[in-house]
């Protein structure tokens, strides 16, 4: 049963604390999840932003190259109009500040190239494949005015050998080169090239535009991702081609030429971490869109990897930012909120406890009083402390109940203590004596104080059944338990007691005990034992008498086979002496001797079975063997009276009984039958012994063909007999023996004569 104080405290303080905790934790986890989703969205947005920006940044170069192509295809640009071509190219270059140079090369090796050459200055390079002065360099200002002209006799530039030219000519469409570092400006850039195809479908030349992509890096450095997030761009080989810090973008290759650093080499470990291990084994980038978290320098980051999704530009953008950029503030907020919640919970919890205490106080005072009343330190009608009305009503009822119960208890105690029979309370689980009365102590000749708390088992003789086990076996099955047992008085004298106990349960099974009445039955027991002993002695004497009567006949029985043996031995000796060659005959005779010897042995065995001492202990034995032996014992007498004993046994089962006693009963019945038939001079003298199985026992019937028994005679009683020389003890003893073996014996007249039947248990009897 729970205390009201605990229930109140739990209800008022505990539940409220529990609710606050649930709310705080659920908001804790949901807000974090939302924020992380938000961070990812932001990263994707930044990446898209970069992609869009790059598209719009690169678009003019393609347009410019395609425009140049259109001009060339329309034959606006001719060999002799090279100055005009230079001017057209110049216009395009000047219009787009990201262009580094615009140029056109043809199949003959001619080449016109216009490029920026420092602020407000432009440089043109004209290559004429068949001219004397092959290469001419022209310096111009923003107005296309010629500032200087000089030949370059060392130049051997041939556009047809350049990769951009060959690539565009090979694919017959516009191409983008991989990014590379422009030789002249040492800036990163890429080239857009478009082939010029004549009406005959033959490539006439290729127009190209160089575009610097340093601007992409500048754009990345301006881009704001979270607070400290960044983005960078890779080409398909894993080289970093745009990075917020452009200084990192150029590195000297093995041959001294400038090139882009690989993502694995770049001097930005954070970028390396953000990219993770997404390089394939052949060095190319796994360009599938992906997102993942990583930890760098003890801080958690989120990272987003996105392909550009532009066919000719196989670039990948990597965007990353520390997680705290997005949820740092929220985390701080959350920490604060949790502290506030704990504070509130503590304050309201304390208030709740206080309240619970106030509610509980009158109840507690009442409980203390009740306990004092029950201990008798306060009278039940003493004034009450201030408390609830309901409790006051309950108290009045209880006070009445208590005084009533005390009276009953006093009466019961007097009854218990003054009872003329021994009475005890036992703990059902331990078998210890909880309470006892004076008579019980008297039975055991002990001081009551010495017996209290003792195990009841210790009062019993050793070898008696364990009472605790007995209780356990019967509790719940029976309402009580009773047994007879041998016990020891405190002075060591053996006594016999009758134990009659009932199980008492109060409430739950923990409080269960046995209330028992104990009677001293030593006197009765002694008489019983005496009678048993007398009966046993009587049976023994009767058996000895039967043996005496049977002895002569048995000696005769035994002499028969012995005589046959001597005769057969004599025959054998004769053959050995006179016809020593006839060993087969001797062997046959020896076989007969063996058989006759066993016949003699059977008789001795039957005899021994009848006189064997078994301490009256039940054993399991074959009934058919016993029938045969009993028949043998009576056989000689039956023969003298010209009677026949026939055995018609049923299945050979084992019965459980004292064998010698059953033998005695059988011999007694057989002899009675033989004698009755002889005395009546019956013409037919047959005794039939049969057995029959039924349930738990075996029935044995001895039926004779004599005159039957007069109904006036009280059979099985002592001194009732039909025999001239009998004492009338045989059947009385038989009944005692059969009943002590757990069977029954009875008599009825059959159509042939008298029939005696008795049963024997098949299974051992419980002691």
């Amino acid at each position: 049963m729970k205390s009201l104080g605990v229930i109140l405290a739990l209800a008022l303080a505990g539940l409220q604390l529990f609710a606050v905790t649930i709310v705080v934790f659920s908001s804790y986890f949901t807000s974090e999840r939302t924020l992380l989703n938000h961070a990812r969205t932001q990263l994707v947005d930044a990446g898209q932003n970069v992609i869009e920006h790059t598209k719009s940044f690169l678009a003019p170069a393609r347009s410019a190259a395609e425009l140049s192509t259109a001009l060339a295809e329309n034959e606006i640009v001719r060999r002799e109009q090279r100055a005009l071509l230079e001017g057209l190219l110049f216009e395009q270059l000047r219009a787009a500040p990201q262009f580094a140079g615009v140029y056109y090369g043809d199949e003959e090796g001619n080449f016109v190239y216009v490029s920026r050459n420092g602020p407000e200055r432009f440089l043109s390079k004209i290559v004429r494949a068949n001219a004397e002065l092959r290469t001419i360099l022209l310096d111009r200002n923003t107005e296309f005015e010629l500032l200087a002209e000089r030949p370059d006799p060392t130049d051997t530039y041939d556009p047809r050998t350049r990769p951009w030219y060959q690539s565009a000519k090979g694919t017959l469409r516009s191409i983008w080169t991989d990014p590379y570092i422009f030789f002249t400006s040492r800036s990163p850039g890429i080239t857009a090239a478009t082939p010029v195809i004549g009406f005959d479908g033959v490539v006439q030349g290729v127009a190209g535009v160089d575009i610097e992509i340093r601007e992409l890096s500048n754009f990345l450095s301006r881009l704001r991702i979270g607070q400290t997030g960044a983005a960078f761009v890779l080409n398909r080989n894993g080289d970093v081609i745009a990075h917020p810090n452009p200084a990192l973008l150029t590195t000297a290759g093995e041959d001294g030429a400038l090139e882009f650093p690989s993502i694995e080499e770049i001097a930005d470990p954070l970028a390396r971490a953000a990219f993770g291990d997404r390089l394939r084994s052949d060095g190319t980038v796994n360009a599938r869109e992906a997102q993942y978290d990583f930890v760098y320098g003890g801080e958690r980051y989120v990272s987003q990897i996105m392909p550009f999704g532009l066919g000719e530009i196989p670039w990948t953008i990597v965007v990353y930012a520390p997680e705290n950029d997005f949820i740092g503030t929220i985390k701080d907020n959350r920490r604060l909120n949790t502290l506030i919640a704990i504070g509130i919970a503590a304050v309201t919890g304390l208030l709740g406890l206080g309240l619970a205490n106030r509610i509980h106080a009158p109840v507690r005072a009442f409980a203390v009083r009740s306990s004092l009343v029950s201990q008798g330190e306060v009278a039940p009608d003493a004034p009450m402390p201030r408390t609830y009305k309901e409790l006051e009503n309950a108290n009045t009822t209880l006070v009445n109940e208590i005084s009533q119960r005390k009276r009953t208890e006093r009466e019961y105690r007097l009854t218990f203590d003054l009872a003329s029979r021994g009475m005890i309370y036992l703990d059902e689980m331990t078998g210890r004596i909880l309470r006892l009365n004076a008579r019980f102590a008297e039975i055991f000749g002990a001081d009551p104080a010495d017996l209290e708390g003792r195990a009841f088992q210790s009062l019993l003789a050793t070898g008696e059944e364990d009472v605790v086990a007995l209780f356990a076996a019967n509790a719940g099955v029976q309402s009580g338990v009773s047994f007879k047992a041998e016990a020891r008085r405190c002075d060591g004298a053996p006594i016999w007691i009758n134990f009659t106990g009932v199980f008492i349960r109060s409430g739950d099974a923990c409080e269960s005990y046995v209330v028992a009445t104990i009677d001293d039955v030593t006197q009765a027991r002694v008489s019983e034992e005496k009678i048993d002993e007398l009966n046993r002695e009587l049976a023994h004497v009767a058996r000895q008498q039967i043996m005496g009567e049977l002895a002569t006949g048995l000696a005769h029985e035994l002499n028969q086979p012995l005589t046959a043996i001597t005769q057969t031995v004599d025959a054998a000796q004769y053959i050995v002496e006179n016809r020593p060659e006839d060993s087969a005959e001797v062997a046959k005779l020896l076989g007969e001797i063996d058989q006759q010897t066993h016949q003699a042995a059977d008789i001795i065995r039957a005899l021994r079975g009848f006189i064997r001492k078994e301490d009256n202990r039940a054993t399991r034995f074959s009934i058919n063997e016993l029938l045969e032996q009993a028949r043998r014992l009576v056989l000689s007498e039956a023969r003298r009276q010209s009677a026949e004993i026939l055995l018609r046994p049923g299945p050979d089962v084992k019965v459980s009984a004292v064998r010698v006693q059953v033998a005695q009963v059988l011999v007694n019945l057989l002899r009675n039958a033989v004698e009755a038939m002889a005395e009546a001079g019956s013409p037919e003298r047959k005794v039939v012994v049969s057995t029959r199985l039924g349930g738990d026992d075996l029935t044995i019937e001895v039926e004779d063909s004599g005159p039957g028994v007069s109904p006036d005679l009280r059979l099985f009683s002592q001194f009732e007999t039909t025999k001239a020389e009998g004492m009338g003890l045989g059947l009385s003893i038989s009944r005692t023996l059969i009943e002590s073996n757990g069977g029954r014996i009875w008599y009825d007249n059959s159509e042939r004569g008298a029939r005696f039947s008795f049963t024997l248990p098949l299974k051992p009897e419980d002691p």
């Binding site: 002569t552 035994l558 028969q560 005589t563 046959a564 001597t566 005769q567 057969t568 025959a571 023969r639």
Partner: protein, 213 residues
């Protein structure tokens, strides 16, 4: 010696126990005896008319008719075959009873074979002697039977009064002349085949002559 003494003596055996019958008959058979065994007294009585010479080995305790009863029946029918009783009980009263009725011996089972053989031999010899004696007395009786009435009267008187059998005494008693008595006496002695009156008296007692008057 009218009975032929050449017939082989038979050892009759009556015992209700088959093992005894079989083993005993076999052992005796091996030793050259003609043995006839019976399972009960009645069977023996039905089969035996007293003519065959030999002896009877008889079990004392048997159902229906026991050995003693059979002995009585044989005496009643004047069959005088020598009896050797065998018994598993060996009670003294029974053996006394049996011997009183003329049993040759009373052997307790189990018995020594040599003792049994000796008894059988004695019994067969006894039987032979008895049969011879029986045959002799029968002849003597026939001779007495051949006497005339007067001669028988005179012979009986002489046998009955051995102290007063002179011719004068006989003549006075029968109221005839002493000469006639002398004549008759000579005829009697001749017919019976004896020389003196004393011999006549001895023979007459042997065949119980004189009692059946």
């Amino acid at each position: 010696m009218t009975e032929p003494a050449t017939a082989t003596p038979v050892v009759f055996l009556v015992d209700d126990d088959e093992t005894i019958r079989v083993s005993l008959a076999r052992a005796l058979g091996l030793r050259g005896y003609r043995v006839r065994a019976f399972a009960s007294a009645q069977a023996f009585l039905d089969a035996y008319d007293g003519k065959a010479p030999g002896c009877l080995i008889l079990d004392y305790g048997m159902p229906q008719m026991d050995g003693l009863a059979l002995q009585r029946r044989l005496i009643e029918t004047d069959i005088r075959i020598p009896i050797i009783f065998i018994t598993g009980h060996g009670g003294i009263p029974e053996s006394v009873q049996a011997i009183k009725h003329g049993a040759l011996d009373f052997l307790e089972k189990p018995f020594k074979q040599s003792v049994l053989i000796e008894r059988i031999e004695a019994a067969i010899e006894l039987d032979r002697v008895q049969r011879v004696e029986h045959a002799e007395s029968s002849a003597a009786r026939a001779r007495f039977d051949a006497l005339t009435d007067r001669e028988r009267e005179i012979a009986r008187f002489m046998v009955a009064n051995p102290g007063a059998n002179s011719s004068k005494d006989v003549a006075r008693h029968l109221d005839i002349s002493p000469r006639t008595v002398d004549h008759h006496r000579a005829r009697i002695l001749e017919k019976i085949g004896v020389n003196t009156v004393a011999e006549l008296v001895g023979l007459a007692m042997e065949v119980d002559f004189g009692k059946d008057a």
